[in-house]
């Protein structure tokens, strides 16, 4: 742990205003060489804006960025790269059709008589990857790799550009445990080499495990700086981030359950060929846990009709749903919030109000044709208020909202259905801050309290255990076990979700 050393990177009184919104105001902090600096804050606190300023994508309205005491004037991403800064965003920038090697050497592939010298490139890449202890096939195309591996390529690319300052924006949000391990090792190596690093994560465990210092943002301002994390508790961080105390973030209370609402009988689809069966009762929240690729999302998509159903039956209150027919599912009160919010959940260029009303409006059309604007405005305002969706007004394009608020709007879309019976949510809190998570759990509880059957897919074990009345584990396309709330513990749920013969390391890391 390095406690001495001059600041390699310094933000001084940074301010940035977007039309109608002050994203950052008078924010400053320092990052030492040879340290990992945690950046914390709820979604929309200004962390990503700060990273875009560091990366040269935004020019700050006020203040300056200094590297080794020298004030920098980044006008473009190229300026930042030239100054040794590498910002690795949540959304990676790579060429999926090209190989690892080509991505790493993009723009400077070695040539021979004007042609690419593949042999030399291959040898060079192998050597570098080995030196970094990264296990990747240089010839594999990026699109064949897992998200975690692609992220690794991105980091290696930054290192190879001799970056001295590295910022990682939520790098682990889609990584497996093993991939996370590799990433952490790499980050520690880089720290030992004297790089200055900024690490953004919503997972406080990671901050404690990895970071030497931390800064907390809230509403575009700095609210706390920690030069060292010894003696700092989780609660202290959460309280500063949220600005209020959150006792138990899950806030579970038991409910009474009714009859079976959703009945899934032998359902299979192309991505999930093995028939799956389960029931969910009215008022019950069932958590589906499993590793990425266990088939949880895939089977839910088939149940909803988003993907083709090849066999089996789905019944809502005893009535069969037409296979592969989303609108029939919605008409029967069975709805689904997909995992990939941006690609499949929101319609980015449309307003918050449009995104909320898109489905329920069919019940309020005037003369069966015309949109009832007044009713829709009322609906939108109701949910903006009730779910505390933070937006300047309902006509704001939804892409401009933070992830948590987008998710609340997608939930509102289904809450506005007058006859909601079954809600399936896929990773509802991925990439969402603590405060908004808590609010989303409350929505689920409220719905269950009204008799809705809720299915929640989540890869976060504490969340599954904290929110569900019953936990179902899946592995390799089949349901492996079910636990009621009392008997669901980290150990037995995880054991049931892991493929047989999986090493004990995965359990330790969970």
């Amino acid at each position: 742990m390095t406690t001495s050393g001059s600041p390699r990177l310094e933000f001084r009184h940074i301010g940035k205003t977007f039309p109608g919104v002050r994203a950052l105001g008078d924010v400053g902090f320092q990052v030492r060489a040879g340290s990992v600096h945690g950046l914390l804050g709820e979604n929309g606190a200004g962390k990503s804006t700060m990273m875009k300023i560091l990366g040269g994508e935004y020019v700050p309205d006020e203040g300056e960025v200094a590297i080794d005491g020298q004030v920098q004037h980044f006008r473009s991403a190229a300026d930042a790269i030239a100054a040794g800064v590498a910002v690795i965003h949540q959304e990676l920038q790579y060429v999926p059709e090209l190989s690892v090697m080509e991505n790493l050497l993009l723009g400077r592939l070695p040539t021979r008589f004007g042609f690419v010298d593949r042999r030399r490139a291959l040898a060079w890449t192998r050597e570098r990857l080995d030196a970094l202890g990264v296990d990747l096939d240089p010839r594999a195309r990026l699109k064949q790799l897992s998200i975690g591996q692609r992220q690794m390529v991105e980091i290696v690319k930054a290192i190879l550009r001799d970056a001295t300052i590295l910022a990682l924006d939520e790098p682990t949000s889609s990584l497996s445990h093993r991939e996370t391990d590799v990433l952490f090792r790499l980050v520690r190596d880089l720290r030992a080499q004297g790089k200055a690093m900024i690490y953004i994560s919503h997972r406080l465990d990671e901050i404690f495990e990895l970071c030497d210092a931390a800064t907390i943002f809230r509403d575009g301002r700095k609210v706390a700086d920690f030069d060292a994390l010894e003696g700092v508790t989780r609660d202290m961080l959460v309280q500063r981030m949220v600005g209020r105390e959150i006792g138990d973030i899950f806030g579970y209370t038991p409910r009474t359950q009714g009859d079976v609402r959703l009945s899934v009988k032998g359902v299979a689809g192309r991505a999930v060929p093995l028939p799956v069966s389960f029931d969910v009762r009215a008022g019950e929240i069932v958590g589906f846990f499993g590793l990425v690729g266990a088939g949880r999302s895939e089977i839910m998509r088939v149940i909803y009709g988003a993907d083709r159903r090849t066999s089996g039956e789905v019944l809502v209150d005893g009535k069969p749903i037409r296979p592969s027919h989303v609108r029939d599912a919605i008409r029967h009160g069975l709805v689904f919030c997909p995992e990939d919010r941006k690609e499949e959940g929101i319609i980015g260029v449309r307003s918050v109000s449009e995104n909320i009303n898109i489905s329920a409006r069919r019940n309020h059309l005037v003369a069966g044709l015309f949109v009832n604007d007044r009713n829709e405005a009322r609906t939108a305002d109701t949910y903006i208020d009730r779910l505390r969706i933070r937006t300047p007004h309902r006509r704001q394009e939804i892409r401009l909202l933070s992830g948590g608020n987008q998710q609340k709007a997608v939930l509102s879309r289904w809450l506005a259905e007058k006859d909601l019976r079954v809600l399936i949510v896929d990773e509802p809190t991925r990439g969402i801050d603590v405060g908004a998570k808590n609010e989303i759990y409350n929505v689920l509880y409220e719905l269950a309290g009204r008799g809705v059957a809720v299915v929640m897919i989540s890869s976060e074990l504490p969340e599954v255990l904290g929110v569900s009345d019953r936990v179902v584990t899946m592995c390799r396309g089949r349901i492996t076990a079910q636990f009621d709330r009392a008997s669901a513990t980290e150990e037995n749920v995880l054991a049931a979700a892991l493929p047989e013969g999986a090493g004990s390391t995965a359990i330790r890391n969970a």
Binding site: T49, E91, G220, E343, G345, V349, D373, R390, G404
Partner: protein
């Protein structure tokens, strides 16, 4: 997240001043095009002889009436992130078909009805192939563009088909309350499609599909049905434009409407319709059509060689796209 997590940051209440400024910007954005058109119109009225006269303005409106009609439906097509290159061929084919059927049956009404049905059929085929068989709209309509143009030539043996029944010409030249019928039809299109876009579930669903087709489908929008409807209506209106054009030029011509599809798309883009889908406004399209027509009209009045008009039209389009790009960039910063 690529977008600034910005909008959510500031609590709603204490930023009234900033919200007002944002709203002002939005108004400037929304109406800047209309402003440009007004300035253009005033400047041309003051500087170009004969420009500001009732006869010339009516002539201008008449000259853009075909483009205007089809621009309404093309707006839907672009708003849903699709594309239609076949409209020019449909215009020609509908004109030829109307002339042939009218001559054969002696009834203009039957001729028009058959043409409109044929146009709708072309549109339906486009829509069905694109929505159901998931074939790229550019390729699909490029193919139908060739096929339908071919049908027009085959049906007419490559010759202009004159119409014998004189009542047919009324469609293109008769006047009603001081304006020619085609101008009325175009105005009606703008009203109907404006209402459709802004006030109906069909219009909102079109924009949702353009904004994010996958999300729209998962939100319960009947994506395939809407897309087929968009193309079907587009074919119908293109055929209507073809019939009216044939009436104006008193014959069905197989080579009519060449490059028509590109003029229509240009007018839409000029009017701020996003090629990325999800954004469109009927007033924008109206102004886009008018700007194209006005510039052409003024250049004709100034005796500028038609060859140069191509340059000017292309230039205007480039500038419009550039302005749109700058506007988007400012919004996402």
């Amino acid at each position: 997240m690529t977008e600034p997590n910005a909008a959510a940051i500031v609590p709603q209440r204490d930023t009234r001043e900033e919200r007002r400024r944002a709203l002002l910007w939005q108004i400037v954005d929304d109406y800047s095009l209309i402003g440009i058109f007004v300035v253009l119109f005033v400047v041309l009225s003051a500087t170009v002889r004969y420009f500001f006269s009732w006869d010339n303005v009516v002539g201008l409106a008449l000259s853009v009436s075909q483009i205007g009609m089809v621009a309404c439906t093309m707006m839907f097509c672009l708003a849903s992130r699709d594309f239609d290159l076949s409209v020019g061929s449909t215009v020609a084919f509908a004109g030829v078909l109307c002339a042939i059927v009218s001559n054969a049956t002696g009834s203009v009404a039957i001729g028009i009805a058959v043409s409109l049905a044929a146009g709708a059929l072309v549109g339906f085929v486009n829509g069905a192939v694109i929505a159901k068989l998931k074939i790229n709209a550019l390729i699909t309509t490029l193919a139908t563009m060739e096929i339908v143009r071919g049908l027009a030539f085959i049906a007419s043996h490559g010759q202009a088909v004159g119409v014998t029944n004189e009542s047919f010409f009324a469609l293109g030249s008769a006047e009603f309350i001081g304006l020619p019928v085609p101008v009325w039809v175009t105005l009606a299109c703008f009203v109907v499609f404006g209402v459709l876009l802004n006030k109906t579930a069909y219009g909102r669903n079109t924009l949702a599909i353009g904004g994010n087709p996958d999300a729209a489908r998962l939100a319960g929008v009947a994506v395939d049905r809407v897309r087929i409807a968009i193309f079907l209506i587009q074919g119908l209106i293109a055929a209507l434009a073809g019939v009216i054009l044939a009436s104006r030029i008193t014959s069905g011509q197989p080579n009519a409407g060449e490059g028509f599809e590109l003029n229509v798309i240009s007018a839409c883009v000029l009017g701020g319709v996003s090629l990325m889908g999800g954004r469109a406004s009927i007033s924008g399209v109206l102004v886009g059509v008018l700007i194209m027509g006005t510039v052409q009209n003024a250049m004709s009045l100034m005796n500028i060689d038609t060859f140069y008009q191509y340059l000017v039209r292309g230039g205007i389009l480039l500038v419009a796209v550039l302005v749109d790009q700058l506007k988007n960039r400012r919004q996402s910063r």
